[in-house]
Each structure stands twice: as C-alpha cells, then as structure tokens.
Assembly symmetry: C2
Homo-oligomer: 273 residues x 2
C-alpha cells in the first residue's frame, strides 16, 4: 500500500484530520508533573492516552527531544511505541543533507526509531530526499511554504519561473513517483495554500500554524480541501499540549483536541455544502 | 571575543585550515574495532588522538550519531569532551525550524552538548537562525552552496536578483552583525566559490567536498583564500577516517590528515607567490 493510500485510509477511518504535535517543553510543563522522576515521559504518555482516539497522527518535534540529550532520544523511541495502532507517526526533524548522510538519517528515523513518515528540508535537492523516498511505504513531507515570518526571506523570492516555494512544489510533484511525498504548508498563508492545492489536487498536505501561531482554521481547511477527498493534516501542538484553564489535565487536553478535530470536520462540511 | 576572531586565531596558531569530519559508519569500520564493546567510541577516540594536533576543527556529522540512537547521542557528548582544548567543534546538524523550535535546537547543541559552532539550513529564514545567533561567541555556518549534485535543484535557481545561493549569501552578510556567521560552500564549485569570496572577503567559509566527493583542493584554496587572511576551513571526512592501505590504523589516519593539512598550506603558499 502506498503512503498516500495509508494516509487517506487513516483520515477516513478515524474521521479526523487532526495531527497533534508533541513539543515537550520542561518550561511549560504543568506543576503536577514536577513530582515525577521522568516528568516529560509521564506528560507524553498522558497526552497520547488522552487524545489517541481523536487524531490521525502524532508529530514529535525532534528539537524538544534533542534538548533532553540521550534521555530525549529514549523518549522519542517511547513515543513511537505508545502511539496507538492505526495512528500515523511523523518525525518532525526537517533533515536535509548529501546522499551518504541522508541515508544515515533515514536509518535513524525509519529503521531505528520506526517512524511512518518524516518532514524534510529540500534546499539540498533530490539526492538529499532520495534515501528516504527509497522506503516506498513511508511518507516524506517536504517543506514548501513554512508558517513562520522568515518564510518571506527565501521561500517567497521570485525566480524566473515563479516564487521559490512553487518551484519546490513542482519538484515535489515530479519526484512523487511512488505516492509517498507530501508538502508542509503553513496555515498562516491561506491564499497561497489555495494556489498550492490547485496545482497539487491529490498531494498530502501537512498544515502547521494553527493554535499558538494564529493561523485561520476555516480558511486553511477551505484552501486545503476544496473537494472532500484531498488529503490533509492540520497540526496543532502548543494549544493542545499546554491548555489554559484549571481542572484535570487529561480532560483539558482532550477537550482541546476534540475542539480542533470537530472544528476541522465542521469547516470541511460547511465547505462541501 | 567574536567567533570570527576565535576562528582566525585558531587557524593561525595551529597553522592548519583542516577540519576533520567525524562520520562514524559501522559498515566502514576497520576489522580491528569489531572486538570492542563500544567499537564506534574506540574508533572516534583513536581518530581524535591521532589527528588532534593537525586540525583546527572537528565536525561530527549528526546523522551518523543519530543512527546509533541514545548511544550515538552519548558518543556525540563524548566527542566534544575528547576534542583537545584550542580545537573548535562544529555540530554538522543542518538544522532549521521556526523560532520556538530553533531555540530548543540551540539549547541541545550549544547548552547541552557544548559545541562551539553549528551548520544551519537557511530555507526557513532569519527567525530560524536567530536563536543560534543570540549566542554571540558561538558560530553559525549557513548552507549557501552545497557540494552535492542536488545543489542544482534550488540553490542555482535564478531569482530576480541572481541565483538563490547568492541571495542567501547576501542575507548572511546582512545578518552578520556580531561576526558570528559563516557560510558552507561545497569544494565541488571552485568558480562559484571565487565569486562568493569576492562578495564576502572576510566571511569564514566551511568547505566540504574534498576527498571522497572529489573536489579540487588547489582550486578550492585559491578560491577561498585570495589573500592570506581570508578565514576558511577545508573539511575532509571519509578520506581521513577510512584510509586505504594496510598498517597501523592511527598512523594511516594521521598520514592522511597530514597530507591534507600540508596540501592546503602548500596551495595557500603557492597562491601567495
């Protein structure tokens, strides 16, 4: 089965386009976790338990794990183990290096840690992606247009054939011979997202930038899914992991995830009408 | 002291522009290491011991460490500890992410592991570099033009203001307010390297692609150092770590490093005349 098919099936069977990003930040951990020997481990376990049935994917953000050293790498492995069967894992690692090195990164992320998919940075071109694409049943989400202000520095630069991000998109479409490529498009650019979807009607889109980063959920869903079958994932990290308000931690986290899952589904339905 | 100053002093005092890249690959490890419990650890220790006085920097390539999981992260920490005082460490991690995440990567690489400098991917723009630049005495080498074939896919694309790699270079120069930025330029592009050095006469250049990747050493040194004071590092990884021939491992590795250090110095002198 292709990664594209696996992703579509997962979204359909779980009735959810929500991806929860896992950014375990010791500075933002609620008080209640401070008493444990392994506060981040307990935190991640409770988050995954609380929202596992509401999401189609979890996306651990490697930076926050690496900031914990060896222990963080152990947590990363533990997260992959804890994710319920049928839910996809996305290694948010944004790697990109020459072929020889990319092969070692692919071994780390796919063989050793066992992720289903990965985010990659395309600046170094095809041979930096190829070792990952060789795993035909796993998925690669390539950075096309990111959600941060710095996206304007290079991604929006005009080239002889349109802005750089559309050049990257064209290459992604060209390289997607095994239906295992997708694109990362920031939810902070709804108009450009619409243009991307027009050029790439079937491409899986991973959309960060909702929640703390302030992206517009309705405009994002409208842009990403002009038809009911266009595959997309909306990622929310901090707004789910570190909810406002008081009460039971797992209930608060679950309520946030439920809110986002339902809002995405609602936005999709409104759009169908 | 600025990173630029520290780098220039290191090169001058050690009379070496050689950086040895550490890519510990179990598949290429000589037979003699197979009998140890920690073959990669022993290998790295012997390499660092053998060439420590011949280099100005060591550049561990994170992919090869990450492929070893938790154990690899421990090795990375051990490498930083083993590098002799006065020799610089470059974390070849090619990270790049939104500000919030880049801060966590900077904590991992600078605070936790203790590296002097890092390679970063600029595709996500200024806010992806800024958390690293805030450490004013550490150095950031930004990917400008890489040594691999895929460099042609995006880095050479013509924009309204010249090829993308020169746009990246312009931004690096603009952002280099604290003299803690440098550029990665593949030694496989000597003519473009010459053009880069003309635009950036004082910028530290990290030059991979010599050795296994086939870059021309003389043309590279001539391009990188048209004057005696332009700071540059020539990186060699596999050609030093996995030498051909039989004999004592440490002597073979040392002979390779000596050859490259001397060839770089020689090329620099010829050019001065």
């Amino acid at each position: 089965m292709t990664f594209q098919q696996k992703l579509c099936d997962t979204i359909a069977s779980r009735q959810s386009n929500l991806c929860v990003g896992l950014d375990p930040d010791p500075a933002r951990l609620p008080e209640l976790f401070h008493r444990y020997d392994d506060p981040l481990g307990v935190f991640l376990k409770l988050v995954i338990e609380s929202v596992g049935d509401l999401v189609c994917a979890f996306k651990p953000n490697f930076a926050f794990f690496e900031a914990q050293g060896e222990q963080g790498w152990r947590l990363l492995r533990e997260v992959v183990r804890l994710v319920p069967s049928g839910v996809l894992t996305i290694a948010d690692a944004k790697r990109g290096d020459i072929g020889n090195t990319a092969r070692a990164y692919a071994r780390a992320i796919y063989d050793d840690l066992g992720f289903d998919s990965v985010t990659l940075n395309p600046l170094m071109g095809y041979d930096s992606l190829e070792p990952f694409l060789a795993y035909t049943e796993r998925g690669v989400f390539v950075l096309v247009l990111t959600s941060n202000p710095g996206a304007a520095d290079f991604q929006l630069l005009e080239t002889a054939r349109g802005p750089l991000y559309l050049q990257i998109l064209q290459k992604v479409l060209e390289w997607n011979q095994q239906d295992n490529l997708g694109a990362v498009v920031g939810a902070t650019h709804p108009a450009m997202l619409k243009g991307i979807r027009e050029l790439a009607p079937d491409l899986p889109l991973l959309l960060p930038g909702i929640g703390s980063q302030g992206g517009d959920l309705e405009a994002t869903v409208a842009g990403a899914a002009p038809t009911a079958h266009a595959p997309f994932l909306v990622n929310v990290s901090r707004a789910v992991l570190y909810p406002q308000g008081t009460g039971d931690f797992q209930q608060l986290v679950r309520a946030q995830a439920e809110h986002y899952r339902d809002s995405i589904n609602q936005a999709g339905k409104q759009h169908d009408v």
